[in-house]
Amino acid sequence: MTEPLLSVRNLAVEFPTRHGILTAVQDISFDIMPGEVLGMVGESGAGKSMTGAAIIGLIEPPGRIARGEIWLRDQRIDNLPPEKMRKIRGRHIGMIFQDPLTSLNPLYRISDQLIETIRTHLPVSRDEARKRAVKLLDDVGIPDASRRIDDYPHQFSGGMRQRVVIALALCAGPELVIADEPTTALDVSVQAQIIEVMKELCAEHGAAIMLVTHDMGVIAEAADRVAVMYAGRLAEIGPVRDVIKDARHPYSQGLMGAIPRLGESLERLVHIPGSMPRLNAVPPGCPFNPRCPKVFDKCRTHRPATSEIEPGRRAACWLYPGVTEA
């Protein structure tokens, strides 16, 4: 059994507000193995981006990690001082965000941004860093990389910009890349290109990916395992094929049915009534109980923990034996 690369244990993220404490992420545990692609899906407000932000230490105050631990191999990273965390970010954990225009500085050439990042983390000369940067841009599929490297971000199209961001995330050779909705701002025809580049390059560099998205199609295509989040909690986690073909948690079942598919047409979609509760009004018991078609008495009073229901699969639902109370 190999050691997990990243280990998240009972993580909780809270935001103190005037009206009390809002819990954005509650009691989440999962591992990411070296080289693995873990997909993280959920609707807006489910806490998926917040989990990613907690791992890279970028939760905006007054938000804070209230409980739990995050381990990168054998180093605990959730309580590091900011300057130490900055060394890990970029060097060990790379980041790709949704909007490539906001993650690139519009005032600097691409070359400056790449070379600076490489030299911050690795002891190489400027020339060597530039060579490395050109090679990376070439790898992510930017034509004529040695010339385009001196362009400014606005001179690239949306898809090309996202390729630059991928290069930037990978330039110091991180072991883990956190990609938060990397293709949401892109057109479908470009989306496929970007996912492929990201997957190929991470595999080449031996980097694991935590892929945060609301698009189940992207997950189906790219992920090895998938975690489904609901109201700040992990509803289900397991191998991607199992979860898509045979979801266990009623929420994941509803989510799969709600996706319109190309093969079938003009029938009604399965829909989950209602919407996800606001963070200040999460119902007692299972957070999904008011919308759940299979709800019974226990669900309304007792909160299920995300527990193992069969080898390699965990779910938080009282329908399955072996689920414990949170």
Binding site: A192, P260, R261, G263
Partner: protein, 331 residues
């Protein structure tokens, strides 16, 4: 076969995106135009859904705005139920025609006035079109509309920010239905919503269509959603129609290389092992469209003719495609 309710004929819209006069004189440059929509024709049958799909910059939203009269076409004509809309309708006639169609926008937060209560928002079309209606009747009607879209009449006293995204889109739908229209233009109505909420809204829209015999023009970039909603589909690329046809036929046998590419690019959610085909390149800037067929720089079947001559829509099987290769029988 029902007769078309909406007929769009050779519609074009050009935008002037020139730099200011002084810059033009100093830099000795001319005026710059974007052809956002170029020679688009299609018709929508009564009670059916016509979908326009395309990527960003393909002109879908411009067409929506042209249809509802938020923009004036540069060329071409829009005929609604036998009457031309682009001839500058005046007074009572315009009012009578306008109340028969409505629009639903992508972002419900931007299309609902944040300072108005929901009742006032939904009652606004009633005030404009049902002048004879008294306050009491209007309040009752707003309550009915709210119930119709799955909200409760008591929600009327709230403000838009007190609702979730899906509920806001329901409010926008209730407002669109208030004037009892026959025809609704929906511009990406669900693309700002989560999948489970999207399913609710799509189902609601279909139910309303069945109940009131509504005709939709449905604009989206999401092929799966379009497949679910539309009877007929028009595929747009850089302001021109690449292919038009009956939904089933178009999905079963896409003709135009761009339509094929779009279908291949849809992620394989059922994990049948089909790999997404990698598509080369991106949509070129509408400021400098390539000569000839707009798709030629990305097309695997392009030849010299495609680089010079703009293809027109020609019928192939059950649909029509604008492609030289298809017309010549090369693919």
């Amino acid at each position: 076969m029902s007769e078309p309710l909406l007929d769009v004929r050779h519609l074009s819209r050009r935008f002037d995106v020139s730099p200011p006069w002084l810059n033009r004189k100093l830099e000795r440059t001319g005026k710059v135009y974007v052809n956002a929509v170029k020679d688009v024709s299609f018709s929508v049958k009564r009670g059916e859904t016509f979908a326009l799909v395309g990527e960003s910059g393909s002109g879908k939203t411009t067409i929506a705005r042209l249809i509802v009269g938020l923009l004036e076409p540069t060329e071409g004509e829009i005929v609604f139920d036998g009457q031309s809309l682009s001839r500058g309708l005046q007074g009572r006639e315009a009012r009578r025609l306008r109340r028969r169609f409505q629009m639903i926008f992508q972002d419900p937060l931007a299309s609902l006035n944040p300072r108005w209560r929901v009742t006032d928002i939904i009652a606004e079309p009633l005030r404009a079109f049902e002048r004879g209606m008294n306050d009491r009747a209007r309040r009752l009607r707003v309550g009915e509309l709210l119930t119709l879209v799955g909200l409760s009449p008591e929600d009327g006293v709230k403000f838009p920010h007190q609702f979730s995204g899906g509920q806001r889109q329901r409010i926008a739908i209730a407002r669109a239905l208030a004037a009892k229209p026959e025809f609704i233009v929906c511009d990406e109505p669900t693309s700002a919503l989560d999948v489970s909420v999207q399913a609710q809204i799509l189902n609601l829209m279909k139910d309303l269509q069945d109940e009131f015999g509504l005709t939709y023009v449905f604009i989206s970039h999401n092929l799966q959603v379009v497949r679910h909603m539309a009877n007929e589909i028009g595929v747009l690329y850089l302001g021109r129609l690449a292919e038009v046809g009956e939904s089933e036929a178009l999905f079963e046998h896409p003709r135009h290389p761009y339509t094929r590419m779009l279908l291949d690019a849809v992620p394989d959610i059922d994990m049948t092992g089909r790999r997404r085909k990698k598509v080369e390149g991106e949509i070129p800037s509408p400021l400098r469209p390539p000569p000839g067929c707009p798709f030629n720089p990305r097309c695997p079947f392009a030849n010299d003719r495609c680089r010079i001559e703009v293809p027109g829509l020609t019928p192939v099987g059950l649909q029509a495609a604008a492609c030289h290769a298809v017309e010549e029988g090369r693919i």
